[in-house]
Subunit: 206 residues, 4 copies
């Protein structure tokens, strides 16, 4: 069995639970009229979809990262754990944002929100750099292919961009949130093409 | 390890949690008489069994679909994620239905309920079609066996039927719910016979 | 990969969540004195330990059963799902018992409790018999070794005994609960010795 | 498949859920001012980070322990289950501590907290000793390498130290808590170096 199997199982469990617990925030309207009650709940539904999608995107990134990692050690497990802590908390700033985005506190709410993703971006970087430093935990194949540099370069912009979103929150909250959405799209869409093509054959027997 | 392993682990986790969180809706009657209190809770118990069974049937379908899928990419993981979003939400329309089915709002409740399964049916189709398009993510064996067409044809009726249930909800809610139950039975019972026989040997060493 | 892998992952997930969700019932005393508040909560703690232990024992039995099963089909997954439904609900009758065991409603509470395990015992039997019927889903080795008969005989007493506990609840609740504890002990202790020795070598390479 | 696979999956699930359920304790402030509301919640955030980190460290230890275990039996699964019970409960004494650490009840709170880790330390020892006794469940390689003695010696100090923290709680609560933090650090940092170097090659193909 791959040495990383249990770290992946544990991480998958945490991602899966974080994403599923979100449903506890959806409340059936307690009084008629039902349709009006549902419509009034729209910020909760939007927060649900956003939290779900962002955690999903982080899971996909976590997945791709672990495609290149073949060994683990205690420090790596600790760093991975701190990243998971960041991910399990995501529903909290999201709900906070849903509740305060239409109030005069929207700057604080957007700052907490972007600030949290800034924290997560830092730990994604630390985790990857720890694994990739001199090819420490990578497969020999990836070590040679120079793949580490490609991914490192790609991740580098995360903290910078999320810090920009954080700073922007104090100036104009909507722009900060828009930047968050753009970053989410950036981190899901072109990843595969950028990373997998040079590194390894895409054969079915992989 | 099969390339889809982590997607399956993650999905299994989400299904397992979605199905287990349902128990949080069961409340011990706070006052005697106990038996009367339990009997009065019957809609909650019925909703529990229905939610559990429907999620279970979707898990079984998800399982069979992944029997034919041997590769993944980011788009596939995103589509699978949206399907999982649909599944984690199932307890919400179910509770909504349990609470309003005996009131004058039963049409809205049944429409939300069937509408949600319509959404899920669409994403089951998209997920499968993305994987099966020109055999993109299938095993070579299944690609040749023409299995993809059989399954595609089978799934095609899902969205149509659930849309019918959705439309029916505005006319006569009980008929809409009955159609939902029939569809659940259809999607669990004859699946295996229809799909597995032509495609692959049923040997123990599979 | 073993064909049953995903059923086991899904089942493990359900067991793991069922057992962990129990902690949500433990409440920190909201007012001092702290020690007195903790001591007053003792029925909740006892219910916690009992629920946890009984689900754990059922998981161990589920694990051993799957040691002998090498194939699956849709019917088997459905039966397994109904068994899992039974297991996820266990916290409910347990809390109900904790709340009513010291009241005049103890007979109803003990009957619900034992009745639920009667239901679970029936589905453990159905699941095993479906798998073992003419060796349907067993490994060829186990099929030949006559192991199926040993296990079938062992499980047979479950429903009978739990029905006795159910009936006893109406007469004398403490005796019914004592019988439940005895049955739990019976189903964990000698299982391995009874079943594994005749069937297969205990080699590390198993 | 490794015989311990399902025990690990189940355990990983329990750890992952225990760690993720913690987020349910984080509450969005219901009234402005938002920033003041968040700052006032600091003991909840500290409790969150501590619970998460301690469960994470126990998971890492559990992981390393299972690196050496290649067989299982029912007794082992029961002992592992009791250890998991201990771990799932961790959020309870942590919340209790968060709520009472700044009150006159801090001694009771710190005693409950350290006492619980004393219990967990005992079961970590029992689990390992059961597995390592005459090399019962270890791989032949580890059995020969004398690794069991190293680990046994290492674990031995756990119960003693946590009992000291428990006793200290009645005298001076802050010292007791400081000892808990020290022990957590001890059990994560040098573990790998102490245990892995003598036992086995650190080759990628491990």
């Amino acid at each position: 069995m791959k040495e990383t199997a249990r770290v992946e199982t544990f991480s998958d469990g945490v991602f899966a639970i974080a994403v599923t617990l979100l449903v506890l925030d959806l409340k059936v309207p307690s009084e008629p009229p039902l349709l009006a009650g549902l419509l009034a709940e729209w910020p909760v539904f939007v927060a649900y979809v956003i939290s779900f999608t962002f955690i999903l995107i982080m899971w996909i990134n976590h997945h791709w990262m672990f495609q290149h990692i073949v060994r683990i050690d205690s420090q790596f497990m600790l760093l991975n754990g701190v990243l998971l802590l960041g991910i399990t908390v995501v529903p909290f700033p999201t709900n906070l944002l849903a509740q305060y985005v239409l109030t005069s506190e929207q700057n604080v709410a957007a700052a907490v929100y972007s600030g949290w993703f800034f924290f997560i971006a830092i730990f994604f970087n630390l985790l990857w750099r720890y694994a990739a430093h001199e090819g420490r935990l990578l497969s020999p194949h990836d070590r040679e292919a120079g793949l580490a540099q490609v991914i490192t370069a790609r991740y580098r912009w995360g903290p910078v961009s999320y810090f920009a979103a954080f700073a922007l929150a104090f100036v104009w909250a909507p722009a900060s949130l828009a930047l968050n959405v753009l970053l989410a799209i950036y981190y899901v869409v072109p990843r595969e093409r950028a990373i997998r093509l040079p590194g390894r054959p895409a054969s079915p027997s992989q």
